[in-house]
Symmetry: C2
């Protein structure tokens, strides 16, 4: 049980590393490629964003707004076969390393084609709203 | 498979009905009682809210801000044994039936003490941000 928990944590951490790397090199299409084919993003201020093209456009928009890096910190991961439930925190920074946003997320991952892919991705800011 | 999917959908819908009923009668403690003992709420503009006391205080605050009813519409539910992953939409209304907020959620449910309880509850507004 402990071994399994450690394994899934490491596997999701590796997937998060790919997410951070794609984000930090400004590769919105690469980010979208980390989602399942029917992946969905649930961002604040928007309806459901479904499919790789729409997901790429969303992240491209975030990058165009000046977000240059994303850091992900896992709080907990729970595995159910080919599904993993991941909860954690994120930090978004500008090119000059200012924190633009900090918040929380829940990601449902699916194991597809030998790798873990984001399937449902919901997040929100922890900062006080204006 | 279809039968199981229908069963879990009906079970989560019944739990949502209890949530809506507690909300609509202004019963913040009753709402908190629908969460697991270590349940967590992940609201926009706040850090993680953990435990029934903090969850009750959060929902009391929302009610005090004028939210009088909550409507929940399930988009999909997926069951993994005693865990269910639920994604959907919510609508919050004032006493005079004005829509105060519409948004999306992901709830991780756990089957405890013979019933489905909210374990992780994250949501955000779909309305354009000011």
């Amino acid at each position: 049980m402990t071994t399994q928990s450690t394994d899934i944590h490491a596997a999701i951490r590796a997937a998060d590393d790919r997410f951070e790397a794609a984000f930090n090199r400004g590769d919105a299409a690469g980010l979208a490629g980390l989602y399942t084919d029917d992946g969905m993003l649930l961002p604040t201020g928007s309806d459901f964003v479904q499919g790789k093209e729409a997901i790429a456009a969303f992240w491209k928009g975030a990058m165009d707004m000046g977000i240059k890096s994303a850091k992900i910190d896992i709080v907990e991961v729970e595995q159910h076969g080919g599904t993993a439930i991941d909860m954690g925190q994120y930090t978004l920074r500008s090119a000059d390393d200012q924190v633009l946003d900090q918040g929380k997320y829940v990601v449902i991952w699916k194991h597809e084609d030998g790798t873990w892919k984001l399937h449902r991705d919901i997040f929100n800011s922890s900062l006080a709203q204006q």
